[in-house]
Amino acid sequence: MARRAGIAALLAGATALAGAVQAETVPSFNLYGLPGLVDMPDANMAPDATLALTYGRMGTANRGSVSFQIAPRLVGTFRYTGIENFDHRASADGVYYDRSFDLRFQILTEGDWRPSVVVGLQDFIGTGIYSGEYLVATKTLRPGLQVTGGLGWGRLASYNGFEGFGERSEEILGTGGQPTTDRWFRGDIAPFGGIAWSPNERLTFKVEYSSDEYVTETAQAGFEHNSPINLGMDYRFKSGTQLSVYYAHGSTLAAQLTYAMNPKTLGVPGGVESAPNPVSPRSAAEIADLGWTSDLVSARASTQDRLARSLEREKLGLEGFDLEPRRATLRLRNETYGAPAQAIGRAARAMSRILPASVEEFVIVPSEKGMPASAVTLRRSDLEALENEAADQMLARTGFGEAPRDTPKMDLEEYPRFLWSLAPYFGYATFDPDGPFRIDVGASLRGEFQFTPNIIASGSINKKIVGNLDEVTRVSESQLPRVRTDYAEYAREADPRIPRLTLGFYGKPATQLYSRLTLGYLEPMYAGASAELLWKPSDSRFALGAELNYVERRDYDMLFGLQGNETTDPVSGITRSFPHVNGHVSAYYDFGKGYNAQLDVGRYIAGDTGATLTFTREFVNGWRIGAFATVTDVSSEDFGEGSFDKGLMFSIPVAIGTGQPSRNDTTMTIRSVQRDGGAKLAIDDRLYQRIRENHEPDVAASWGRFWR
């Protein structure tokens, strides 16, 4: 039955993956990949945390976008556009590729009489081809009928505008990537508006008056603008996916597919893993019995043995154990459960079934790579009394603190351990004008030799089976040492490759302090040594870290050779060198409700100094969606296309797809352009995330999993 039920739940999950039927409705999306009419915006907001992917085509332009509802009133969009037959010096084979970012904020929410009002910045740090701003209001007159009216600036004031404030540059910027503040809300203003009518929940019909004359496309891509009136129709599938067709500007047919998902509603609720053991309650007579303490040493040994076996059935590891007449301390290794509360809950129940009845206090010390990360203190009588109550009752009676000084020593009986696995892998590259999306798929053999829980040698070797990453041929000149832009060389020459091969030492030098030393082939392009120190009090939302690296460039074949820190530019022929040493000081802050920020200040691989700011929204189930930007002392001219390093990060927990508990995730980082400025090492075992997961704010957030 487990399998069948599991599969049914998985299927439910798979259906959810195909676009969950959401309680709140996802609004209709426009050709810019944001809530709107046909080409014009409206003032609707998607439900909080909606992640929407759109792909549309209008005339000769392909537009793809990803939008994220950052907060209930704030949405951000990244768009990638290719306009064919576009006459511009940056076009590749006649196709002009453009990346742009939008931000939209809801000033007023809709009321009985009041419309929703939204202000938007379109293409606000790009090259400026889509640059425009707007103020738009939408009112629902009756269910299924909405009217929208707004004022546009920039591109959205190109048709029938009137004079506004100041002058506005029309130039398409060469390098792009700078916030175009000097243009915002400048120049002409034009009105736009429209009506959306949904006769039922499947269909929406739209008509709009557009204030966009498509000047650039008309001049450079042969676009015909005959009319400001655009017509559209959306069909909403049962899964929530939207198919839209449009007739735009009296000349052009367009179509778009919109796929919306939400990290809050995707996946099997609570997972499909097997049931935990129930709590085993004690009688008063048993609790009073201290007879077993006469031979504490042998009682400890035999109890530890049975507890270790019981934890193993829960896919948990006993890393250390201490038993006193009234208290037991378990040093717990969790490599299974994404929610630490679940690991703690399962361990506590195993303890309740095995430990002598007089033991009342359970101290569970979650251990990350041998580093005791915190201490969770539970009373056994609370476990007995609250097993069938709301989980927050148990949370209220649970103590959180630093791992105690006398944390039980690591039990090394099972060490050294050797673990290996063979599994498929994929690699990808985006936004190369010659092939905007490239992917490799192959087999990855991974091995890990654990001398002790905190001294670990690990590595992997990948062999490609199919893919086209090696077809990247575009070389572009760099004014910096080519610390990242030689990626095409690596993609071509490295097969099979060893992405990483490292020896890691993890430690806890003092309370609230965690350390890491990694030696070897640290990442695909660099080898050397990396040392990190993290200060993170267990009850704090704030943490500080420092990382110091000594690196040398690896050979293009990504095997064992090194090639020194000198690079020669294939275009200019100039040879440049860069330092061996780089590193950062980092500050981390958890604002609560899943909003996190990280600031790194230091020296980057190419020797440039500067800072990276990262904002992330994290969900209790492990989804993370973030954006980062790095500004260094490299000028935007020297940096090249994009002006400075920036990008988006999407991290999806594996458990969403499988329904089974897991601490793993799949992380994709999308940079608009990979250049050499602001480049950091891609080390995969940095401390902050893993340590923080065991601290009170994170454990409490997923506490509902304690009894799962």
């Binding site: 069948r4 049914a8 069938n388 050797f418 089976i465 329904g659």
Partner: protein
């Protein structure tokens, strides 16, 4: 598709089928295997058949502990579960596949391992009416985890009505019972009707209960108390 790419695609499919994460490292997730299982019903998944009287007899003979039959109606999945623990008034029953059902006087108060599990309930008033075989209104709260792992509490108002009495025989239980119905609604569009057979001691010996969006209705039958 050229011959070469066909070959490679075949090789890839073979690789995925045979090597979908092998090794001794549990931390590496069997992603493809799970995807395959969800699409094609798993590697050699058996056809689900109802539990036969013979299986019930075998199960009752194999243990002297309390046994229930548990069925998830929408999934047509059925299993026998044996009592493995008692904590106060709560009894935990487990199936051979490590799924668990918790009963209090025969009322399902929690499930584990079904997917979309009922985590806990506030059932005192509802259970009081059912056990007294009396009509009335009762509040009833069910708690679930959302896909985000946040606890969600659904608060219902239930109207309880007693029905006819009859004699039943199931497993080793022979008793006379009263039919009870509880029509529950949260006032926001979620509504269900549970039914129970309650014996003279106030124990629910058979029930059909709604266990949330994911599981839907499930039936429970006590075969031995």
């Amino acid at each position: 598709m050229t011959f070469k790419t066909t070959c490679r695609a075949g090789l890839l499919a073979g690789l995925i089928a045979t090597l979908a994460a092998c090794g001794n490292d549990d931390r590496r997730d069997p992603l493809l295997e799970s995807a395959y299982e969800s699409l094609f019903g798993g590697f050699g998944a058996e056809e689900q058949t109802p539990i036969t009287d013979q299986q019930v007899g075998q199960a009752l003979a194999a243990t002297d502990r309390p046994v229930i039959r548990f069925t998830v109606l929408d999934r047509e999945a059925e299993a026998l579960a044996v009592e493995i623990e008692r904590n106060g008034a709560h009894r935990t029953y487990a199936t051979a596949d490590r799924q668990a059902i918790v009963l209090r006087n025969g009322l399902i108060t929690a499930t584990r391992g079904l997917g979309g599990d009922l985590m806990s309930v506030e059932e005192d008033r509802l259970l009081g009416l059912l056990r007294g075989r009396s009509a009335g209104q009762a509040t009833y709260v069910q708690r679930y985890l959302t896909p985000e792992d946040v606890t969600e509490a659904l608060s219902f108002t239930c109207t309880v009505t007693p029905g006819q009495s009859s004699d039943i025989a199931q497993g080793v239980i022979r008793t006379s019972v009263t039919v009870m119905q509880a029509a529950c609604s949260d006032g926001q569009g979620t509504a269900f009707t549970d039914s129970y057979l309650v014996d003279g001691s106030g124990e629910i010996v058979t029930s059909k209960q709604w266990l949330g969006e994911t599981t839907g209705y499930a039936t429970m039958q006590q075969l031995r108390r």
